[in-house]
């Protein structure tokens, strides 16, 4: 299956980018968030570099009718700003500042054999499981919305390329 190999390659490239950028050094992440004291603004450049590249390629790629290994693109279509979005992002931010890890760098660090990252990822998985247990299990109507990688695009909707 070719698609598995490209996913492996994309993950590897993503991980290499995280390592090069400094995101796999929790102290650097914490210093980025430490605006009032010893602020290290480097990590703003990570986001700037990633967005600069993806913003252009995203538009080029979406000119295609479909991706290489699927019949259609599956992009988020929601536009509503609700309490779950804000509360979830707020909780995530607190955890990011406390631990110095977001999900990608934590997984990369496990690959490098960093024990504290393993503890972080174990409870991160528990938190994700708790969410799916509390919300999606009892409320099947929200199942597809609860993913940021929607797996079933709406039947007739074009890709969400016309965002403002």
């Amino acid at each position: 299956m070719k698609s598995v190999w490209t996913a492996l390659g994309a993950g590897g490239l993503f991980g290499a980018g995280l390592v090069l950028s400094g995101m796999a050094r929790p102290a650097k992440v914490i210093a980025f968030l430490d605006v009032g004291r010893q602020w290290d603004p480097s990590l703003a450049f990570v986001m700037a570099g990633a967005i600069a590249v993806h913003m252009v390629l995203f538009r080029v790629i979406l000119r295609r009718r479909s991706p290489l290994y699927d019949v259609t693109f599956h992009l988020p279509t929601r536009k509503d700003i609700d309490l779950r979005l804000v509360a979830g992002a707020a909780l995530f931010g607190v955890g990011w500042g406390l631990g110095g890890y977001c999900p990608g760098p934590a997984l990369v660090s496990i690959g490098a054999g960093t024990l504290p990252a393993l503890v972080f990822v174990a409870t991160m998985a528990a938190g994700m499981w708790l969410h799916s247990h509390l919300f999606t299990a009892r409320d099947p109507s929200t199942r597809d919305q609860s993913r940021d990688v929607p797996l079933h695009a709406p039947p007739a909707g074009p890709p969400d390329s016309g965002a403002p």
């Binding site: 290499a16 390629l57 965002a163």
Partner: protein
Amino acid sequence: MNHFTPVSALLGGALIGLATSLFLLTHGKVAGISGIFGGLLSRPVNDGPVRLAFVAGLLLAGLAAHFVAPGQLAVPPPSRSLGVLAIAGLLVGFGTRLGNGCTSGHGVCGLSRLSARSLVATMTFMATGALAVALFGGVE
């Protein structure tokens, strides 16, 4: 301790943008790590092999970096004990699923698509992240 490293940050970011674009071109999906990883924990698992392969790529990148660029990897500072990391992980796991994304899904993919939801999410987690560091303490 922490030096300003705009060039490596920018280049690393560009690689992340390329990886995100490659995933979109091949699989047609947002390369949001919390979504890719979290999808392995909800039932039923859709696209399990693709999710596992992407996560395996992240782990292999870490393994390679351990030998090639060990200076780019570090354990968290002493103020972040295992207990603190355990709480942090729980918040990150639950929060990213509740808010539909993390630094990659909202911060890179969403902002590149000029999504208002992702802009709100990114501003929110940046603000509460800074608040958490201000209250709990920085690196020292």
